[in-house]
Symmetry: C2
């Protein structure tokens, strides 16, 4: 059934610039969220509301914009202009360090965070103000298409649903949270007014979706502890996925094949691969330490195995991220200084945004290490097995959302247990080829039958179940 | 009803030495736990099982020991000798840094802990071995008095109850957890085998007690998430308390009066007092920062108020504790360097174990700051109001167990919100005298009617309710 949808996310599917001759140019947005929502545009009538980022975005913010997806599907765009100071507070003070760190349990509580007057202002005049702008834009769009369902995304927009609900008691509102949901005591890091506003904002939706039942249960628990409400009936667990066809194509693309030739030319017998942003939640430092412990225990594997770490530098304007990147480099250096020999560097660390190289590494891994501290889903664990050509084994953190689906075919690790991770790397490297192939094939089969379309179908069906009685 | 009780705790009520002439000497143990359990010895037939610490304790470990409490009540003591290496692993690797840090949510998860082979060995050959020794001692004591109820204490002994239960299916077992119970995702820091063993160990009791309903609910939730069991019926919330008569006496003792004279001689008009161990859970650094923010906002109060921080140095052999003490000293120095004037030091920092001085400060505070990150109970919040003579106001963390009882008469703070704490200090200093007096009186009234005897009565009654059917 084709339906009218208003998709709301901070980053949009397109941003605008200007050619030297003055004509407006449109650039497609990257990022997982935009990719994930592509099929919505194909099958439904979508208007996408997002923040204006560039100067030309701000010019376009007053206009009704019509765009065309890669496959030719038309969709509408409405850009929301924010005061630049408000946006900076929203994005660089509240959403990215504070909420991200809370939702991934990353704070060192004896010392940080220290919530001061600057933070309180950033919350009120930044996060709350930007959410108010989004709510006003949704309200205006609902005036145009009153029977559209609204589909909010992620941790940037926790306040908007309630603000829309106050104006539109009958609207169909759904929110998907792409990050882990922590348990209520961790939410208590935030002052009562703020943590309650976040939970009340989300609870104003008809449906709140999470990748896994674990994050969903945590949300139910935290609403009950903090607000005393039972929101069970409003929640749904729907694991996001990928478009397998896209990866089949990518794997055969010229640019990936070129990268793959370089990789194969230099490769040793065995390759342990990790692909991540340089985010403290990704647990890269402990991964290097675990590989060191593995090399310690297996001198016979020196020169026979190396770790390829493809790391996309992330949010370097936030001090905690800059510090984490430094710690990554220090730890890799320490391990290499200890073990490296002429012609063998144990850890091949590459800090760059090079997606084709990542896909080449997906094809060539013997072991894929995903040891995240906490991770909403982790799509690398789904993408890489799809195209792998070496019966590679996935070593997977029990705290990654992907573990709920793929854990039974992966080697499970506790992300804090470096000894356990060293043993898991050994177990993966020594696994017999039949078992490796069977596990990899099972993961592929699962991802192919649980693809991105299934994710959107599950969410829209949940919205129908809840919203239908209200609309009747 | 007088009953037979076997009290089990790591530190016991007495430890032994030898005079130069070779006679054995007994020294009473200090510490909150021993004080708290004093009344048990008065009203019941108690045998106390504890670790042998001193050389003479190890000599005495084979013997049946009879001791006499301060009030003349007799009780038995059984000391358990451990291998010194096992005890070091148990105490200085597992119990005090690891379990304490997990239960107070103190780890900086991107970097620590890193569970290595040394930790796994410390768990198995230290914590598990010491718990096995305790279980064997309890079993031996139950052979002597089969109808005694066993009363375990705290985070040192999580494995012992199950080990006893395996040998004695019909024994009456109770455990009291004196620290906060974190939520299941924080327990997941520990590898599955370890976290499950902790929960299974506790669940082998007939009754598990916590200071507050919040910690009790967390325990129920974490057993359900980690083991899939419902232990609701086995749990009880019973807030520990103090003996008000003891503080009435102390307040009038010579040594306290002497300290009080010194304090009054030097005092400014207003005094903000904190009394803590130098433990990262106590949130001392943020308390100084909050006081700085208060002074910033209230130049008219310079020279009119100071903060007296009486801090007992704690566990300095653990690096995180040594670092925290350094951070405390640095922060106090920074604030003093910024504001101090001839004759006025904003923060009077005293690192010493001086209980009489603490009681003198209890009598003299205008504001008592208890801003703990997480705290099982926090007895300072109960002790100090009992003897205060200045209608002092309690500023109390919402994450301290004491907040469940005293919150409505305190000024509540979020421990991470330094701006909120600065405002709370201001609110407390400016509060009118009638309101101050009414709040203080209400806290006193509550503590006097909810004293230590009530705590033990509640726990023993809970044990009777559950254990009675089994014994019939």
């Amino acid at each position: 059934m084709r339906r009218k949808l208003i998709v709301v996310s901070n980053r949009g599917p397109v941003s605008y610039g200007r050619d030297p001759d003055g004509t407006r140019t449109a650039k497609r947005g990257g990022g997982g969220l935009v990719t994930a929502l592509r099929s919505l545009v194909q099958y439904h009538d979508v208007t996408w509301i997002a923040s204006a980022i560039t100067d030309e975005d701000h010019v376009a913010a007053g206009e009704t914009l019509e765009e065309t997806a890669r496959d030719g599907s038309p969709y509408g765009v409405r850009l929301v202009a924010h005061d630049p100071q408000a946006y900076d507070w929203f994005y660089n003070v509240v959403a990215n360090p504070m909420l991200w760190f809370v939702q991934h349990s990353l704070w060192e509580l004896p010392y940080s965070p220290k919530l001061d007057a600057a933070f309180h202002r950033a919350w009120q005049e930044g996060y709350a103000a930007v959410n108010e702008n989004f709510a006003a834009a949704v309200d205006a769009e609902l005036s145009r298409t009153p029977d559209a369902a609204v589909f909010f995304h992620d941790y940037h927009l926790y306040l908007a649903p309630r603000l829309v609900r106050e104006r539109r008691p009958d609207a169909s509102l759904m929110h998907f949270v792409h990050v882990p949901w922590p348990q209520p005591d961790y939410w208590r890091i935030l002052p009562k007014g703020i943590r309650n506003a976040i939970h009340e904002g989300l609870a104003a939706n008809d449906i709140v979706g999470f990748h896994t039942d674990r994050w969903r249960r945590n949300f139910i628990y935290s609403v009950r502890e903090l607000l005393g409400e039972d929101v069970t009936a409003k929640t749904v667990a729907a694991p996001i996925s990928v478009d397998p066809g896209e990866f089949d194509e990518l794997a055969q693309s010229d640019v990936v094949l070129r990268r793959e030739r370089d990789l194969v030319a230099n490769r040793l017998t065995k390759l342990v691969v990790r692909v991540d942003r340089t985010d403290p939640s990704k647990n890269i430092v402990r991964g290097f330490r675990a590989f060191e412990l593995y090399l310690d225990a297996h001198p016979e594997m020196h020169r026979q195995v190396s770790m390829l770490a493809l790391l996309d530098p992330s949010r370097q304007e936030i001090p905690e991220y800059a510090e984490y990147l430094a710690a990554i480099q220090r730890e890799a250096r320490r391990v290499n200084d200890r073990f490296q020999q002429s012609g063998w560097r144990p850890i091949d660390l590459r800090i760059a945004d090079d997606f084709p190289l990542s896909v080449a590494a997906y094809k060539q891994f013997d072991v894929l290490l995903v040891n995240a501290i906490f991770d909403g889903m982790n799509l690398v664990a789904k993408e890489a097995p799809l195209v792998n050509q070496r019966d590679g084994v996935v070593v997977l953190s029990e705290n990654a959302g992907a573990h709920a689906e793929l854990g039974k075919w992966a080697v499970t690790v506790n992300p804090f247990d470096v000894e356990g991770q060293a043993e898991a790397i050994g177990q993966a490297l020594e696994m017999g080829s039949d078992e490796r192939r069977a596990r990899l094939e099972a993961i592929r089969q699962h991802v192919r039958t649980h693809d991105l379309n299934r994710w959107t179908d599950t969410l829209l069906a949940a919205l129908d179940r809840v919203a239908a009685p209200a609309r009747r």
